[in-house]
Amino acid sequence: MTTGENSVVYMDNNATTMVAPEVIEAMMPFLTDYYGNPSSMHTFGGQVGEAVSKARADVSQLLGCDVEEVTFTSCGTESDSTAILSALRAAPDKRHIVTTRVEHPAIKNLCENISSFTGHKYRVTRLKVSDEGLLDLDEYVRALTEDTAIVSVMWANNETGVVFPIAEMARMAKNRGILFHTDAVQAVGKIPIKLKELDIDYLSMSGHKLHAPKGVGVLYVKKGTAYVPYMSGGHQEGGRRGGTENVASIVALGRACRLAEEMMEEENTRVKRLRDKLEDGLLASIPRSLLNGNKENRLPNTSNISFEFVEGEAILLHMNRFNICASSGSACTSGSLEPSHVLRAMGVPFTAAHGSIRFSLSIYNTEQEIDFVLDKMPQIISDLRQMSPFWPGD
């Protein structure tokens, strides 16, 4: 696979992102010269510990929280599991979880198999979404009961980019004395977050979604909130997460958080404009194409579009011939036989669900790339439709 030099038109940033050059530069010394263990007594190791502290400060700055509230983990999934299992153990008498039908597998599958982790049976309420992927807050309030141990709702959906009203939902949970977790893997760095002002108890984030490398994540735990380590071991992370720190990646994540803060404005202006140009252009030039997800309450970088009567994997593989990278919610791309659970929860008809393509941009995308994709897509869709037995004709 070729990289760099713009040989790839990369529009799959909700899957993973390019490691930013300044992030590489910041982390490299910790893979070469500064290999000491932060826990060591000598200065050689100690200076590495300082770098970890600095990274923690950078993360807390982006999240708007205290440094003590930041725990480094290996990924978003580990953060999610740690948060949910902590909350459940903190409220051993409560046997109810509230979540949504559109969560990432990290939460979805955990909730589905929760009894095998806890040894107890839980009732799980999975909130419905509208055809635009939005939650009904009345239904949410009704779902909260005396028995509810935790609410877990993603901040922004990875497939459609739809953003949920997390501040409000967290407040509602707090009013009922219920712990609140949010999987903010897609939201951090794209929309401003000030945890100090919010009633969120746990928040998960992942490094590789904001231009840090894979293999590092963060769990935010509000001061005073119940916590049970998922990985037991040494005293690292204040005893919250044993295991020698993934120093280079932690340093990288700190640098990436600073970059995200610097770029937040650009993400919400230039990147958003590029996304809108791409979206409007595709919807205008390709008949029977439709937008999945609410247009307003959305991440600035994501656009999920269905092309009716054609299948997503076939579209992606034709795009691949032009080195255009994106994702699909079709059955065939997932290895399962049914289209994405998110699109099905939204009630997207089968004519469209199998032909959905997710474009997710980053600050590295250019106007030329948007023009290139706009130039190639109509022909790709048209060719496949000529082959489709369902295509009613132009």
């Binding site: 299948e311 079709s330 399962s336």
Partner: protein, 277 residues
């Protein structure tokens, strides 16, 4: 990313015979939008010989490639010869398909069969079966046939080949029963072992022995090996490999991938097979 062969990629990128023959003598229409793939095959037949074939396909790369391959294979063939084409033949023509994509080749075979039945004015027997998988509309006849033709031995394989069980998963028990029924029919043995959730230790040992005797030992003997049951303690099944198995470097794989898999499938899916050393 799927690992497609060069032939699959080539047929996907340059599909042959796309279109529809207007006055076709045989038309096969299978699959649906809901299922995520569909194929309409039209054949021009003169003197029982397929002189032209065209297709229209909605589906992934391997569905398009399978359709393209199928049309290339049948053109110029006698109907009675085309009838003998199996899904494995289509997959072989393409240099193989990922196992999760085998249902694409099955769709090709089904369309061909439907087109030939249409030409002869017959009703397909598979359409008369009873629906087992509601999600994908797969009948018991189709499942049994796939089990026999492709020598399927697990529910997962049935799903890969026919899609049955790939949706809500509620038909899993039915599929397992159908699998056992079909397999034991195949082996010409009457008793069908029902998978009981709770078994006494004695029942468990008896069933394990039965499966070892009927299914596993004959296979191992083909390669000059043998197996003996040493002990059953809870879910732990201790066995001893004999004959050529003792010196075989793959004995661990045989134990886990074959013996354990078989016992889990036919007796209890929590069983763990260990070798007595």
């Amino acid at each position: 990313m799927w690992e497609y062969t060069d032939t699959v990629t080539e047929h996907f990128q340059n599909p042959r015979n796309v279109g529809e023959i207007p006055d076709a003598q045989g038309t096969g229409d299978v699959g649906s939008l809901a299922c995520g793939d569909a194929l309409k095959l039209t054949l021009k037949i003169e003197n029982d010989c397929i002189v032209d074939a065209k297709f229209k396909t909605f589906g992934c790369a391997s569905a398009i490639a399978s359709s393209s391959a199928l049309t290339e294979m049948v053109k110029g063939m006698k109907v009675e010869d085309a009838e003998k084409i199996t899904n494995e033949d289509i997959a072989d023509f393409l240099g193989g398909l990922p196992k999760e994509k085998m249902h694409c080749s099955v769709m090709g075979r089904e369309a061909l069969e439907a087109a030939i039945a249409d030409y002869r004015g017959l009703v397909l027997p598979s359409a008369e079966g009873e629906i087992v998988c509601e999600c994908f509309g797969v009948t018991d006849i189709e499942v049994s046939r796939a089990v026999k033709e492709s020598n399927l031995r697990s529910v997962e394989e049935i799903t890969n080949f026919t899609k049955a069980g790939g949706g809500c998963g509620k038909c899993e028990d039915k599929l397992r029963a159908l699998l056992l029924e079909t397999v034991s029919e195949d082996l010409k043995t009457v008793p069908v072992i029902k998978k009981a959730k709770k078994m006494t230790a004695l029942q468990k040992i008896k069933q394990i022995e039965e499966v070892l005797d009927r299914e596993i030992r004959p296979e191992l003997k083909k390669d000059g090996g043998d197996i003996e049951l040493i002990d059953v303690d809870g879910d732990f099944v201790t066995v001893s490999l004999r004959g050529s198995c003792t010196s075989c470097t793959n004995s661990e794989t045989t134990l886990k991938e074959y013996v354990e898999k078989k016992l889990r499938e036919l007796v209890l899916d929590s069983l763990i097979v260990e070798e007595d050393k």
